[in-house]
Subunit: 139 residues, 2 copies
DNA sequence: ATAATATTGTTATGTTATAACGTATATATC
DNA sequence: GATATATACGTTATAACATAACAATATTAT
């Protein structure tokens, strides 16, 4: 399924970003490129997310490009480094199983699942002593 | 640790609610009781959440009282019924382990973790045939 | 070609959350 | 008790995030 010009542009900006971007941050980087209002960004994001090409991080109100070919897998967990803003997109079968069993035991029929783990990535942990570390994003 | 009057009131409203409440919904129910601005609600929520007496549901921008005595356990997952709005607060050691192994393998040092599972609870699933079901909250 | 579907740009508005300020009220420490 | 220190308070204003509604255009299928 082909993307429209606007959807392409939003995806490109997300892909070249080093950290998750909010909708208004995206808009800023796209203004002068035909984008002039938040609606346009949200619309493109909506399509990208439905196609598994981008993800919304609920705890940050921000968006990232999917790192995988396409994300139509089961459960995806996000490891979010509060220090450098880096996102790791984790797919783990043991985690999926645990979740599956847990909800099955409760007779709960799961739709979509959000998992976001805040913390410190290995690089930041080794680069900086605990005391001098500063949070770039909300914990 | 004792709660102030305002914090008590917010907690009471949350406890007597049947579904998660947004900050402005809380404010509405508390106006005429000394509350006149969102800041007051957010401040009380902040304390309640830090003390493990309430939780924020990131996918709903809403708040619930903790169902446990006090929630200073490890990871808590929320099963959110999109049909009736009911919240189930799940603590599962297998899930915690899976998460623990997963991040350990990546040398990620976890702080707080958010897990929210949208879907349909058992009551709603049996009460209504799939086709006639309507979503009360976002999926 | 024509109908049905999706996307576009624009304007306006709704919803959620925080900043900044001065005041008040507790909680310790002396 | 007096004094410092921490929190909590109410108020006003504004920031940040997201959607509604509309008319126009472009795409796709029949």
């Amino acid at each position: 399924m082909p993307l429209t010009a606007n959807q392409q542009r939003v995806l490109e900006v997300l892909r070249s970003a080093e950290a998750p971007l909010g909708a208004y941050a995206l808009l800023e980087r796209l203004s002068g490129d035909g984008f002039s209002a938040p609606t346009q960004v949200y619309r493109a994001l909506d399509v990208l997310i439905r196609h598994g090409l981008a993800h919304r991080l609920e705890t940050l109100n921000a968006y990232v490009a999917c790192r995988h070919k396409e994300c139509r897998h089961g459960v995806t967990a996000f490891a979010i480094c509060d220090d450098c803003g880096n996102i790791d997109e984790l797919i783990d079968s043991a985690l999926s199983s645990s979740l599956g069993y847990m909800v099955e035991r409760r007779d709960f029929s799961p739709g979509s699942t959000t998992i976001e783990i805040h913390g410190t990535c290995s690089q930041c942990a080794s680069a900086l002593p605990e005391s001098t570390r500063h949070s770039r994003v909300k914990p």
